[in-house]
Amino acid sequence: MVDITDPKPTKKAASRRDFLKAGLLGGAAVAASAGAARAAGDPLITEIQDWNRYLGEGVDVAPYGKPSEFEANVVRRNVPWLTADPVSSINFTPLHELDGIITPNGLCFERHHGGTAIINPADHRLMINGLVDTPLVFTMEDLKRFPRENRVYFLECAANGGMEWRGAQLNGCQFTHGMIHCVVYTGVPLRYLLEEAGVKTNGKWLLAEGADASAMTRSIPMEKALDDCLVAFKMNGEALRPEQGYPLRLCVPGWEGNMWVKWLRRLEVGDEPWAQREETSKYTDLLADGKARRHTWVMDVKSVITSPSPQAPVTHGKGPLVITGLAWSGNGTIKRVDVTLDGGRTWQTARLDGPSLPKALHRFYLDINWDGSELLLQSRAMDDQGLVQPTKNELRLARGENSIYHNNGIQTWHVNNDGVVENVEVS
């Protein structure tokens, strides 16, 4: 971005108003003595910059802060041809622009089936009914009086990568892998709420239901519900965003995103699963022989290099290059990530950095000295159960190409001599 031959804007006797206007125009530069400045060094250093002289905005200009205007391209994006209508559609987290393991709230991908429900928390109710001693209704106020926990979890849509079964399709890790986010949730262990109602001994299943226009429902086995599920009202410290289920959502750690019912309004205890639309017509995995797997809940061990990637090409030429990416597993923590530069002939173990939490994203780095030659980049994750991320071809061999869901195959990025990156598949 910073080009030292760029002439610097000069503003003689600029008023504050002029300054703001120019700022909005962003880099609309007035020609100055660029040549002289170049000889004398970087004018961004040798000359006093406007932001170094004139006062900036006061504290209350943005009561709720926003990212810098120079980050305007860091946004969720959708793929319009995937679905008939944006009211029942999906968009994708810009993974290629992010670092660390936490996804900012405004960038968490969205998937809803009947649009974003807008619910005043004072009007929200959570009901527990079915095979319980006492069917109960909670207000949000009631829920906030139970003991809470804070947990970092990834949430991945089972269809993440679903478009790639037939071969490399979408040129960007935002699109191939962006149906995932990872935040810290604050909520009440589901166990406390179920115990409050008293689950009967034949209560083996739980139906979770949303309050939105699709009244989304999923069956969850009771062991999972009593194990680590949370009923969450906060993400990254603040209230859930409306598109993430405000005021209340279910967290089903390590399991497919569709089960994390948003706008959670009802939990029913039963003795058998309900075979709802989202666990029959959808979220079942069709195999080549015409059979379909159901109840494929766990998200498998997976990783992807987020930079370089098609939307994050190498712009700096040869020399030090940071290769970075994300790894995760619905089984627990990530034990190791290996990276190859030559399409899988030789591998080296990457450096994991940052917290390593079960069922959360892990960040990895491989710092190399790029000689400018072509690269075929891949990452391969291994989790603490010893499960290793398979190749796309291994998955196709086992399942065919029409499973849609649970594509955790190894991703390949081709980096050419100019640093341009493309989504490819290799022999």
């Binding site: 699109f175 409050e196 075979a275 029959t280 399409g343 002939r345 398979p390 490819v424």
Partner: protein, 369 residues
């Protein structure tokens, strides 16, 4: 194979006999009912927002394609730029034959078939247009179509003062006992064995007009799906094909899911608006469209429901991922000389080029879900 060719012929006839698009005085109350056909896609009244289609407040006198914040088709914007303003005549023409009037409009609606329906829905819309000098009071009471049906309305937002509130008996004593009426209002799920089914019944023949009026705009007259809206019928014996078509008849394991889902979520944008008998009739009609039943007089009811089986039930199996060879072998992954020779590129995304870049969204490379 045409299902109910009778009604298709009728539609053509009705269109042909339409006299003039500018219509006589309509009845706003009757129009409110007609608007149910629009409510899946449009909102009108106080606080109305854009849905699948733009909000329709102040539509009389509004230039076509001009509602702020709504993404129109190119065709609609061009029509507006060319001077098309909505009034009784232009609306009448558009609503009887949307694609005929504006080629390329993205309103996936076949058109109203009856003169009086058009007149009535216009009278209703007029009550939300200042320009048309309607009683302003009407605008305030006109929210009904944007809300869910009163029949299925959830309990009062806050418990009424005189409601008997029984505290929870649990360890924390938080929450209160749910009332039977409250559970009945929300607990509408149905299981494959029929548990949860309400009283009621409906036949294939009864389901056909209900489907045509409420579902066909999106799902097609025969469940074939209009545009990219979901396909509901057909696709038998395609599950092993290169491009399988998964429908109720070809894929779904249980009929209970059809009843449950239609009742809770359809029609899209106007959920919980069908009576239980309507849902029985629609479910029967969907069985007919999928060739699971072939008798138009077939009646589906609470009593015979669980006896109807869908053809693909036996093909659902347990999660077998752990047994796949790549997981089962559980060996240390290879680190060096893992492939015999230099690696070749076998496929490239740029060849397919379906990545969105601002405009140009008409690609179709597959679908999620």
């Amino acid at each position: 194979m045409l299902k109910f060719p009778k009604s298709a012929a009728f539609a053509v006839l009705a269109l042909a006999t339409l006299s003039s698009p500018s219509l006589a005085e309509g009845d706003a109350d009757a129009g409110q009912k007609v608007f149910k056909k629009c409510a899946a896609c449009h909102a009108v009244g106080e606080g109305a927002k854009h849905k699948v289609g733009p909000e329709l407040n102040e539509i009389f006198g509004r230039a076509a394609g001009s509602a702020e914040g709504y993404k129109y088709s190119k065709a609609m914007i061009e029509a507006g730029d060319a001077g098309l303003v909505w009034d009784a005549a232009t609306l009448g023409e558009y609503l009887t034959n949307p694609k005929g009037m504006i080629k390329g409009t993205k309103m996936a609606f076949a058109g109203l078939k009856k003169d009086d329906e058009v007149a009535n829905v216009l009278a209703y819309l007029r009550t939300f247009s200042q320009e048309a000098a309607a009683a302003p009071a009407a605008a305030e009471t006109g929210e009904a179509p944007v809300e869910t049906a009163a029949a299925a309305a959830p309990p009062e937002p806050a418990p009424a003062a005189d409601m008997v509130v029984e505290k929870s008996q649990g360890a924390f004593g938080l929450g209160r006992k749910a009332l039977p009426e409250e559970i009945a209002a929300w607990d509408i799920d149905i299981r494959p064995d029929g548990t949860g089914l309400p009283e009621g019944s409906g036949t294939v023949a009864q389901g056909e007009p209900i489907y045509t009026d409420n579902c066909a705009v999106c799902h097609g007259d025969f469940g074939e799906g209009a545009g990219r809206w979901p396909v509901l019928a057909g696709g038998q014996d395609t599950l092993r094909n290169d491009r399988p078509e998964k429908t109720i008849g070809s894929y779904w394991p249980y009929l209970s899911t059809v009843f449950d889902y239609v009742r809770r979520a359809m029609p899209f944008g106007n959920a919980r608006s069908m009576s239980d008998d309507d849902v029985y009739a629609l479910t029967a009609y969907l069985l007919y469209l999928n060739d699971v039943v072939d008798d138009e007089e077939f009646e589906l009811s609470k009593e015979n429901f669980a006896s109807v089986r869908l053809p693909n039930e036996a093909n659902f199996i347990a999660d077998g991922r752990a047994d796949e060879p790549h997981y089962a072998k559980s060996v240390e992954p290879c680190m060096t000389d893992c492939k015999p020779g230099p690696v070749e590129i076998t496929a490239r995304a740029q060849v397919i080029d379906v990545t969105p870049e601002g405009e140009g969204d008409e690609n179709s490379g597959g679908s999620i879900d």
